[in-house]
Amino acid sequence: MIERVGGYLPSLIAGAGLTLKLTISAMLLASVLGLALAVVRFVRTPFVAWLVPAYVTVVRNTPELVQLYLFFYALPAWGINVGAFQTATLVLGLHFAASLAEVYRGGIASIDQGQWEAAIVLGLPKRKQWTRIILPQVFRRIIPAWGNYVTVMVKVTALTSVITVPELTLVGNDIAARNFRFLEVFTLVGIIYFLINFPLSLIVRHAERRLARSEVTGKAGR
């Protein structure tokens, strides 16, 4: 059994590679878009300030699977013909942008008012206030939550198998169905996901502990 299973490993690893590619692309999109959404919320334009919570609420209260199906069929209907991987990146990016927007929002709100006052007193323009003072601190604080969402993203990529993205779950499904070896293959798929996610979650927990320590001892964090 082990030898037979060993033969499947290369294809499964290739699928896992695509899983990671998808995770990275979608996380990139989600991080950038989420940051934009969160910042927009604090810059007080009344119309736009309403759009962001509405977007976040709608996206977070709908299942990812339904969103995937929707865009998979809607994009071609609107004349946009992109591949499955691109569609998956777009949908997952949009979905996690909503969650990350909330994470950023919490991070921004947790910045001491004194930081803003100092920035204003120093005569920094709005943009420099954000990029020089506020955001660097926000990024440090949200690393645990952000890292946690990376592990969530790795697991959600499994859903994109229904959109024909050849990531780990679809490849595993395919091999299992063709060789009728569901037990071994799916167990192996589970193990591979675990081997990807468990170290990630350990890193996140480690980062959480180090950040908590440095917050207690002060900004220098030593």
């Binding site: 609420t57 199906y69 859903l159 037990l183 799916f186 996901y193």
Partner: protein, 257 residues
């Protein structure tokens, strides 16, 4: 657009199944989650290790893979499950792991002073659990558990992939039949939204108002069984804090006020 609405009845059938599955899985995953949380705090290392291992594995793998494993892989080991059973089992196991983390955090956030009071009063472990730990933890836990229930509700969408006839399953059929695929999926998304959104609002409301009412509620219920409430009220009145013997976990002193 009118084209899609004529298929409304079948989508509603599926929607009902979605809600039923959620309603069945919810008490199951909560109970199992509590058991696992207690297992992780057990004095026996073997139980701690098994419970902890289960949680790590379940949280580290996608729900879809777990679902497929229970439905496609188990039959080859001799256990064949019907789609609905496999689906509910998968939901229960998966979300019990997440719930156990919530319970564990909640139980560990009880100020140790109350546990000391319970020990002084001679309350056994089970009574302590029932009268001291759970009432306090419950108020803290309802928002996260509520969010998990909403997650279960959204996760039932995956059960369509093992032929459970809930709303996504019907929607897949409809997409094949009609040419209005995007509209069908917008309808489905709308269903999830109109159930999930009010629930989220309700949880946020509870989170904001329960904290205020918590202090009042315990002294409201001072009765012949509530020695612990008496102890706590007495401690509060006499100005005792919970930091006499051990360090209070951060964030709980707000409850003592």
């Amino acid at each position: 657009m009118p084209d899609v609405f004529q298929h409304w009845p079948r989508l509603v059938d599926g929607a009902l199944v979605t809600i039923q599955v959620t309603a069945i899985a919810t008490p199951l995953f909560i109970c199992l989650g509590l058991l696992i949380a207690l297992g992780r705090m057990s004095r026996l290392r073997a139980i701690r290790w098994v419970a902890g291992g289960f949680v790590e594995v379940v949280r580290g793998t996608p729900f879809l893979v777990q679902l497929f494993w229970l439905f496609f892989a188990l039959p080859l080991a001799g256990i064949t499950l019907q789609p609905l059973v496999a689906g509910i089992l998968a939901l229960t196991l998966h979300f019990a792991a997440y719930a156990s983390e919530i319970f564990r955090a909640g139980i560990q956030s009880i100020p140790t002073g109350e546990l000391d009071a319970a020990k002084v009063l001679g309350l056994g472990s089970f009574t302590t659990l029932r009268r001291v730990i759970l009432p306090r933890a419950l108020v803290l836990l309802i928002p996260p558990i509520g969010n998990n229930i909403i997650e279960v509700f959204k996760a039932t969408s995956l059960l369509a992939l093992i032929t459970v006839d809930e709303i996504v399953f019907y929607a897949q059929r409809l997409t094949a039949q009609t040419r209005q695929a995007p509209d069908v999926w917008i309808l489905v998304a709308f269903f999830y939204f109109i159930v999930s959104f009010p629930a989220t609002v309700g949880i946020n409301w509870y989170e904001r108002h329960a904290a205020r009412r918590y202090g009042l509620r315990r002294s409201d219920h001072v009765g012949h069984h509530d020695l612990t409430a008496l102890v706590r009220v007495a401690r509060r009145v006499l100005g005792f804090s919970a930091t006499t013997t051990r360090k209070t976990p951060p964030g709980t002193s707000g409850g003592e006020e």
